[in-house]
Every structure is written in C-alpha cells, then in structure tokens.
C-alpha cells in the first residue's frame, strides 16, 4: 500500500489525481459531521415505487399474515436500521400481523435488535409478541428453501427464534402455507436476490411481493414492477427515509439524508477532479510530444 502522506504525480495536474484513499475518505467523513451535528433540515422527495409499497402494505388482507423474509444481516445494520424500523413501525401502527423470517444466520439478531427499538416506540407499545407478530429463526438453503416455507410453514421452523413451539404462538394458528400469506416483504442486502422470491413466491404460488432491496437494487426490482409480481419497492435506507415520511413514523432517516447529500456531492466532485487530472495530464503530455 502506498504511503498516505505522499501525493502521487510529478506535476500539479497529476497530483490533483494522486490523493491517497485515506484523504478522500477523511474529507467525506468530515463533511458528514456537519449535518449530523447541525441538521440542515433539507426536504425529502418520495418515489412512486415507495408509495406503491406503502399502499400495498396498507391493502394487505387483514385476515392473512404478512411474511417478512429477510436476508439483511447485522453487518448491514447501518443501511438497514432506517428501513427495518420504519417498516416494523408501519406494520404495527396499522395492525397488520406479520412474521419475520431469517435467511442468513445472523438475521435473527438483527430482528431482535430492531424489535428492541420498535417496542419502545408509540407503535410498538400495547402490541403483543406471538399475537401481533412473531420472529422465526434461520432457514438455510436460500432460494430453494422458499417453496418449503410456502408448502409447510410450521415444518420449516417448528419453533420460533426464542425456542417457543409454533403451536404455542397464536399468530401461527393462521399461518400454515402460501394460502395464508397476504404479502411477502422480501428484504436483502443483495441487489439481485429479488429474482429468487419472484421465481418462487410469485411464479409458483401467486403471492405478490414488496422488494425491500439494497440501495441501487431498484433497477432489477423494477423489471418486475408493477405488473410482474412486485407491488412496490423500498430501496434501502433511501426507501426507509421515504417510508418514515409517508407513514408518519419519523426516525433516524431524515437526519441521515442531509449527511448523504453532502457525501454524494463530495464523491461527484472527486470524480470531476480525477477526470480533470487525467485529461489535463494527457493533454500536457500530448502537447509536449
């Protein structure tokens, strides 16, 4: 690894493009400090796919259960916290019963972490675990495990994350297979995961889906939205911030928005700098020869 204290390049124009990554990151982090200490309070825009997701959740039949299958893990908490918290609060606020399912080994602990936050909010108070929502443990196998859940939900888990047999959880009396599922919310920190639930839940069982994807995953999810299995898209923390706003459950997303704005603008500026250096150096070399 090169020395951070040395700027690469011989001429000024070359040095412009020769900063070590340490300084690039340090400048971005410094910029993030500003709005986190003094929130600017910039407005938020919403997108049609988030509005669609919100509406689809509200329209979910109340006699059925929403299944929130999740590939997000603790390692993705910083990006997931906004969306997970907003989503759980939205579901509880509107008395929509839901079951959380973990598709990675450390998703159960992410769910526990989020649950601890949400049960302390206005939406979480007065709600009862096992009646209003439940949390399953880890189901290995990725895509191929989804039809197993669809065919025999109790067989897929036997007990919840806390070891309570599913037969002892009231909510599980109404959830045995795909016919009892109102909607699938499929969360993933992979932008390409969405193809798997579409292939399984929608194609094979006709259950429609909300894609809660990593930021940027909208491109792939949008190829299935709105008429090809996906009813709406929540796009990472960006979508989470929108959901906070739309659903009236304000949280940490709004404060993060300002910081993101500055960080993105700084990145764009660095790309411009890099290109000025590259083309400037090339022009100079061309001129010299």
């Amino acid at each position: 690894m090169s020395d951070p204290l040395k700027i690469q390049g011989d001429t000024l124009i070359e040095k412009l493009g020769g900063l070590h990554w340490f300084w690039i990151g340090a400048i971005i982090l410094l910029l993030i400090f500003i709005p986190l200490l003094n929130p600017i309070g910039l407005p938020i825009s919403t997108t049609q796919w988030t509005l669609d997701a919100y509406q689809a959740i509200l329209d979910a039949p109340k006699d059925k259960i929403v299944v929130w299958e999740d590939e997000w893990s603790m390692g993705g908490l910083a990006e997931a916290e906004t969306g997970h918290t907003a989503l759980m609060r939205l579901l509880l606020k509107n008395d929509i019963r839901f079951v959380m399912v973990s598709l990675t080994p450390d998703t159960p602990l992410l769910h526990s972490y989020i649950t601890d936050i949400v049960t302390k909010t206005a939406e979480g108070r007065g709600k009862t675990y096992g009646i209003d929502w439940a949390q399953m443990g880890f189901l290995p196998g990725g895509e191929a495990s989804l039809p197993f859940m669809a065919e025999d939900f109790h067989g897929a888990f036997e007990a919840d994350f806390y070891g309570t047999p599913l037969s002892e959880l009231t909510i599980m009396d109404d959830l045995h297979g795909y016919e009892d599922i109102a909607l699938i919310i499929t969360g993933s920190s992979s932008q390409t995961w969405i193809e798997s639930p579409v292939r399984q839940w929608y194609v094979k069982y006709g259950v429609e889906i909300i894609s809660y994807t990593l930021t940027g995953g909208t491109v792939l999810s949008a190829t299935y939205w709105p008429d090809n299995g996906i009813l709406g898209i929540i796009e990472g923390s960006r979508g989470g911030s929108e959901l906070e706003f739309i659903a009236g459950v304000p949280g940490i997303g709004v404060a993060q928005s300002d910081a993101k704005t500055l960080a993105f603008l700084a990145t764009a500026a660095f790309i411009v700098l890099g290109n000025i250096s590259y083309f400037g150096s090339k022009f100079k070399r061309g001129g010299a020869s």
């Binding site: 993030i32 932008q191 292939r199 930021t215 940027g216 090809n228």
Partner: protein, 199 residues
C-alpha cells in the same frame, strides 16, 4: 456508565478496522480475527438449532425417522478432510446444487423469460410510445449482445454495441446504490464518534 463504556468499546472497534485505511496494522488484524471467530461461532450455533429442531427431535420421537438420511448426507462433508474418500464429499454438494438448480430453473421460464417479454410488449400500449420503443430496442439489442456464435461485426456489431450501451445504462444506478450503501456506514461511524464523545 455502562452505556458510556459500551459507546467507547464500539468506537474502539470501529477505529481498529478503519485504521487500515491509513496503514495495515495489528489492530486491524485483531479485529478481523475477532469478526471471523464470531461469524463462525454464530454459524455453528444457529445451525445446530436448525438441525435440532427440524431433524433431531422428529428422529428421536419417531415421527420422521427417515430424516437421518439428510443428516448422514450432511455429515459426509467431513470427507473433504480425507484425501482418500474426498469424492464422498461431492454427495452433499450434489444435493445442494441439484435441489437449488431444480428449484431455480422451474421458476425461470415464467419470471425471467415470459414475464419480461410480456412487460416489454405491453409497455407499447397505454403509456409513452417512445419510451416503450426504447425499452423494446434495449431488450433486443441487449439479448443480441449476449450471443456468441458470430463475431460481433458489421450490422450485428452495431446492434450489439447499442446493446452494450443500454447495459451500461442499467449498471450505472447499481454503482450509485453501492456507494450510497457504503456511505450509510460512514454516517454510522461519525454517529458513533459523536455518541462516544458526547457532542
């Protein structure tokens, strides 16, 4: 007090990892080893739970005694450590691959082929015709880009070049998304610093 202590521990952990960006150092390696150990231990614990609930209980109470078969198949993975019987470790791998591929391809025709063609065709009605035509051209040229039986020159070359441009247009937002994803961790890092210092 306990919260403050935790905040400082958390800050120290993040700094240990972030310190690598200045220079590789033992603190970074210590953090890496701790993350590997934690991930491995959790993987073991969660999966013991899974096997116990779904297989061992039904086997022991006699309701699904045949589940001993997948357990034996799974145990066959240990043969990866034995040069003589290493080929036996292919058996569980074959089950994983076969079942996964089998489950996947049976959904491909509808989701990835017919559904996509249907949406391409239907986008030519009802909405903006020009946009619908652009989508159609993009789909066709992108598919042609992924053909291999002819060198991509002449007319085919022009079409596939156009296809590649559309592919690039679809890739750009992923890059933006990935950047945004990572910035969330930058924001969290700064928040952790603010929390620990008490700003």
């Amino acid at each position: 007090m306990a919260d403050a202590l935790t905040a400082w521990i958390v800050l120290a952990l993040w700094f240990m990892v972030a310190s690598w960006t200045y220079k590789d150092n033992p603190l970074f390696k210590i953090a890496t080893v701790a993350a590997v150990a934690g991930g491995a231990a959790n993987g073991v614990l969660v999966n013991i739970d899974n096997i116990y609930l779904k297989a061992l209980i039904p086997i022991m109470d006699g309701t699904k005694i045949w589940l001993i078969i997948p357990i034996i198949i799974g145990v066959m993975f240990v043969f990866v450590f034995n040069p003589r019987y290493k080929w036996l470790a292919r058996i569980p791998t074959i089950f994983l691959m076969g079942i996964s591929i089998g489950a996947m391809i049976t959904g491909v025709m509808s989701a990835q082929i017919i559904g996509q063609i249907a949406d391409t065709a239907s986008s030519l009605t009802g909405g903006n015709l020009l946009n619908g035509l652009i989508v159609l051209i993009a789909v066709v040229t992108a598919i042609l880009y992924f053909t291999y039986s002819k060198e991509q020159t002449g007319v085919l070359g022009n079409l596939t070049t156009l296809g590649r441009y559309f592919l690039m247009a679809s890739i750009g937002p992923y890059w933006a998304g990935e950047l945004a994803f990572h910035m969330s961790f930058g924001i969290k890092f700064v928040q952790i610093i603010i929390d620990a210092i008490g700003l």
